[in-house]
């Protein structure tokens, strides 16, 4: 069956520290992969999406970057975190032409 793993579940990091969040997908090949950020109790903002290895599209200018080193691995990074980077980060996958995203369980990031 198809599953998506996202870790860690929670993270507290000081301002200026680096960040690496990882997302892996099982049970499907060549998925589209997405990183979203969600403000408290609100809608989701698309940060990055990828249609293949090494192919990354950025939706909004920001302090973050994404990479896809393997077909089913998507990484969200920052060299130096800002307070405004705090939020709930969600990874998702989809297969082109087949409806619906499957989301991971999210990472709650608090920058202090």
């Amino acid at each position: 069956s198809q599953t998506i793993h996202q870790w860690p579940a929670t993270l507290v990091q000081p301002v200026g520290s680096p960040l690496s969040l990882e997302c892996t997908v099982e049970g499907t090949s060549n998925p589209n992969l997405y990183w979203y950020r969600q403000a408290a109790g609100r809608g989701l903002q698309l940060l990055f999406y990828s249609v293949g290895i090494g192919q990354i599209s950025s939706e909004v200018p920001q302090n973050l970057s994404a990479s896809r080193p393997q077909d089913r691995q998507f990484i969200l990074s920052s060299k130096k975190l800002l307070l405004s980077d705090s939020g709930f980060y969600l990874c998702a996958w989809s297969v082109l032409g087949v409806g619906g995203y499957t989301f991971g369980s999210g990472t709650r990031l608090t920058v202090v």
Binding site: Q6, N32, Y34, Y36, G41, R42, G43, L44, Q45, L46, Y49, V51, L90, A92, S94, L96, G97, G99, G100, Y101, T102, F103, G104, S105, G106, R108
Partner: protein, 110 residues
């Protein structure tokens, strides 16, 4: 910028009441989805609608896609505490990227 506005933003009702959540845009969707999210979890897909005027039912939930494919509604009949959560609409504008709505937080009290 494509924007999806949901209303109401918050809804607090008693068990057994009916409710409707709306999702509106000035743009035409190629398809629209509804998700429900519980605290600390990722959203879970409820339904996808693709045809203008389409109506889909999922037990006590009824989803309607507007004739012009610019809006959608979610109606819940006889709400239960288990319906509590954040409801999100999400539209596709011809690509595989989804634009999410602003969200409606529903609280159903027993």
């Amino acid at each position: 910028t494509q924007l999806l506005e949901q209303s109401p933003q918050f809804l607090s009702i008693q068990e057994g009441e009916n409710l409707t959540v709306y999702c509106n845009s000035s743009s035409v969707f190629s398809s629209l989805q509804w998700y429900r999210q519980e605290p600390g979890e990722g959203p879970v897909l409820l339904v996808t609608v693709v045809t203008g005027g389409e109506v889909k039912k999922l037990k006590r939930l009824t989803f309607q896609f507007g004739d012009a494919r610019k809006d959608s509604s979610l109606h819940i009949t006889a709400a239960q505490p288990g319906d509590t959560g954040l409801y999100l609409c999400a539209g596709s504008f011809g690509t595989d990227k989804l634009i999410f709505g602003t969200g409606t937080r529903l609280q159903v009290f027993p």
